[in-house]
Each structure stands twice: as structure tokens, then as C-alpha cells.
Amino acid sequence: MKVIYTDNNATTQVAPEVVEEMLPYFHDLYGNPSSMHSFGGQLMRKLKEAREKVARLIGATPDEILFTSCGTESDNTAIRAALASDPDKKQIITTRVEHPAVKNLCEYLSKNGYSVTFLPVDRQGRLDPEHLYKSLSNDTAVVSIMWANNETGVIFPIEEIVQMVKEMGIVFHTDAVQAVGKIPIDVRKVPVDMLSLSGHKLHASKGVGALYVRKGTKFSPFLIGGHQERGRRAGTENVASIIGLGKACELAGKHIKKENERVKYLRDKLENEILKQIPNAMLNGDREHRLPNTTNISFEYVEGEAILLMMNEFGICASSGSACTSGSLEPSHVLRAMGVPFTAAHGSIRFSLSIYNTEEEIDFIIEKLPPIIERLRELSPYWKQ
């Protein structure tokens, strides 16, 4: 069965060009870049090139890029570094809709001596900057706010809010894992102090991420050990994946227009047709300020896992914010923070596209989904025609 992959906010296909770029570093050039022999040492130059490519995508300089093992490590490193460099300050400000890499870390810290402010969002998943400004205090050590939400695709006004935070001398970190590669990001224009990105969300491999740390930002390492990454992140470099990440960033830069025109067109078509053809379906999240590839739609009176497994029968891959898919008993914390009613939250489906999706695939989903919803509604005691 052909797989129709529309779950790209979960992970992406590694681009064929990226795979090709990575392969020599497994069988031929397997050295350690820190070695004194040129067999290993020559790889330092390849890492440097990769660092330049990652930096270029977000408008940074290469020495502001640290390679990590994943987005979660980047987020943890950033927040802990900010706290460690100003140990007297005990307040963290974040939002209620962060990825677990930030949310659960902050919840953990709130039980270990820190006070955490979780900013609310409105029904469309938007952040009110006033809430942030009112929460800032002399005790604030770090503000960590995601650039774009993984579940709804809603983009936060980072450019607008970062100014005020910086004026107060507070460190600003953003989890831009979902945003990098999908929308233009330039840290010269948006002066965040730290920014997390992840390889496998932009067609590089799993197991590699990066953290941007603005020059002059106080920093202390999370992993302590060898001198790699100029002592800022110990551990032998994941050479092949880092080189792959470099290539993926180079490609992302080239494809950003396609992402915002072609992918957006397909997403809009999928979304509009679903909302038109299926009654009691509603969009979750701000239609306007949103990633071009993501749509999150709720189908009332049916449950998300059941929808996913029926789509699975046709090879269609997507995600849900329902309780049953999360392994917890409550639906997505993002949808709950937005005040999406339970009737809809349990039946939410997220489609996240990539440049590899075709119009035929989108048409196939549009054809298959309405009967699935209809069938599940026939089974549902709440559905009255």
C-alpha cells in the first residue's frame, strides 16, 4: 500500500540529497574530527561547512551555532544555561502550549525552586503580548516562547515581544523547531538570544539538532566532558547527521518559497474541502498567522484515534490531539489551553504537509476522509442527524 505521509510535524522524510551527502561518513570517512591525523581531522572542515549552512538559514554567524542531539536537548540546554548564568533569578516565563521539551522541563523546575508563569492563549491559540509584559519582573531569568506551535501551526509574534524582554535584560529563548525551514527566520532582525532547531523536522535525520546562541549571551554547558563545540557541548560530533543537517538547511533555504506557495496551496485545498464536505468540523488555530503546512481540524462526536486508524487502512498518516493517542487520559494540552470544547478536542486531527506531498495525495485524502467520519458518527451515540 502506498503511504500518504501528512504527519511532517512529527517527523519528515530525509531528503534524498541529504542521504547522499551523509553516506560517505559511515563507510569511508568514519574518523573522529578531533583526531590529530588527517583521516579524522579533515572532517573538521566538513563540520565547519555544515555550521555555515545552518547559520545561513537563520541569519546567524557560524560561531553562534552549537550542534546538539535533538530539539529537546537544545531546549533543555538553553533554559538551563539561562538559569545557571543568573542564579539569583527564580522566575521562568513560558506559555501553556509549549512542546513537552519545554513544558515538562518547566513543570519540573517549578517543583525545584523556580516559579514558572505559563501564559494563556486565546480560542485561536494566539498569545496576548500584554500578558507577557505584565508577567515580566526583576526576578525573571528567562522567557521561553515557541516560534510556531507544533499542533496548530499558530505562529507567535516573536519579533514584537522579544523587544520588551530584551529591554529588561532578560534572556529570550525560542523553540523554533517547527518554524525553521517552513517560514523565513532571521535572527539579525529578530534579536532572540537563543533558538532551538531540530534536524528531523526539516528533512535531515533524527538525532541531530542545533542551538543558536547569540554572541555575548552568557552560557553554561548542559553536557560536560570533552572540548567539542568549543567546550559548549561535549560529546563526539554526530558527523554524518551534522553534515546532513547542513545540507537540509541549504535545501530548506532554497525551498522556502515552494513551502509558502505550493505546500500552502495544498494545505488550503485540503482544509477547505474537508471543512466544506464534512459537517460539524472546525478549524483549530488562527487561520492567518500559521505555518503554511499545518492544519488542525476537529470533528465533533467522534474520537481521533479511531479516525487515525481508519485512515491508516488507506495508508494515510496524520496525528490527533485526542486523549487516546497521547497515552494520557486527557486530550492535548494545546487544545485545552485554547478552550476547545471536549466534544471537539477528542476528535481533532492534524495534517502536516511537506514539499514531497502531491496534489493527487491531497485529493485522495479528501475522497477518503468524509466517509470515515460518517461511518464513525453512525457508531457514535452523540451523533444525531
Binding site: C324, L329, Y382
Partner: protein
Amino acid sequence: MWEYTDKVIDHFLHPRNAGEVEDPDGIGEEGSLACGDALTLTFKLDDEKRIKDAKFKTFGCASAIASSSALTEIVKGMTLEEAGKVTNDDIARYLGGLPKEKMHCSVMGRNALEKAIAYYRGEAEKKVEGEIVCECFGVTDLQIERAIRENNLATVEEVTDYTKAGGGCESCHEKIEEIIDKVFGKPHVVHRKPARLTNIQKIKLIEETLEREIKPSLKKDGGDIELIDVVGNTVIVKLRGTCATCVASQVTLKHYVESKLRELVTPELTVEEVQQ
């Protein structure tokens, strides 16, 4: 992804007996939209008072739909007495097992069946018996007790898998532990300290902990510690004896004294040595 058996997938994709029996003899409703799954079971009896037809309508995940479908297959042909003995485990076994996190789907089936039988017998819809323990999912102490007994559950996590209780805000976990201990006849050990201490209580507790727990072990190495002051959550102490000159005294202070006080008094505490 859940590891569902082929039978679960089969009953999910091809549910048996979906719908509502016309002019039913029994109706049982269980669950709610808020909880994420709900089941309406209807049945019709034949002349010999056996279940001639049973149908379900279910809102929920694959295992909720499969459990409902299995339930209707199991009870068809049974007398009400036989049906009354069907357990959640029977439903799970019929399906070749359910992931443990999904056992509550089988419990939902059993509960709906009981309600449908009670409806037929004209027993007025029983008021929620017992006291609500889990506010998030509206689960009572009696329901939890029953699940513990019938399925031999030993941990809060297992109780959550079977009843959902404790799966939301988690504030009822201690109560659930108490119920487990009660069922198994164990004395309940309260390991948590009062949630909020007044300043006086806090200082007293710090003093006691220093005397009882910390000083004796420092004294073994010829050291000692004196409480100087408590400012908010900062405990100011002075190290004496060998501790005062020990190069590792900061390690002792942070890793031993502080963690001990955090464990036994309150996790917000930090320990500092008095400035000379």
C-alpha cells in the same frame, strides 16, 4: 502506536451489532463526551428471557469500539443471570487482550451491561454510590475498590489504566494509594508532610531534622553544624569541628545537608554557610 491484537482491529474495522435495538428491554449508558469515550448498550429478550439481540453505539477509540462489539457478541444468547456475571476481563480476553492502558474500555463495557440489566429489572438508576475520589473523571471510592478487587490491582498506575481515576490532575493519587492499602489490609503509611508549613513549623522542623538526622552523621567524622537563621527558604548554618576546615565542606553542605532538609522539610529550601 498501540499494540492491538488482530481481533481488536477486526472488531474495530468490522464492528458487530452496531446500532440500537428497536423497542429495547434494556438500555445502559456509560461514559461521557468529556471523558473521551461513551457507550450506549441496548438489548432485547426472547420469550425464554434470553438476550436475543444486543446492539451498541460507541464514541471512542478503536479499543472502545472493539470492546463494545465484543460485549454484544458475548452476551447474545445469555440469560440475564449469566450476563450479570460477565466481567471486564471476559471482554478483554474475548479480544485476545487489550493494552493495559486501555483496560478501562473493557470496564466501560461491563458497566454499561450492568446498567442495562438494572434498567430491565426496573431498579431505579442507582445514584452514584460512594464518594468521588477522582474529580477529573468522576470516579468514586467504591468503583476504585471494586476494580482493585476484581483485577488485583496494586499500583495507582494500574487503577488509572482500569478506571481512569488519577489520570487527570493527579491530586487524588494519595487517596487511591490509601484505597489500595485498605483493600489489601495494609496500614497506610503517610509519607507526605503537611503541604504548607507556617514559618514557626518550618523552623522547628529544620531544627529537629538537624538534631536527629544530620548532626549524628556529621559527628561521626568529628564535625558539627549549628543553625544560625532561617530567612524565607534560606537556611543559614555554621559548620564546626572538622567540617569547618574540610575542603569538601561545600559538598557536604549542598549534597548532604541541603538534600536532607529538602527531603524532610520542604523542597524549596537552600542551605548557605554564614558569612564570616
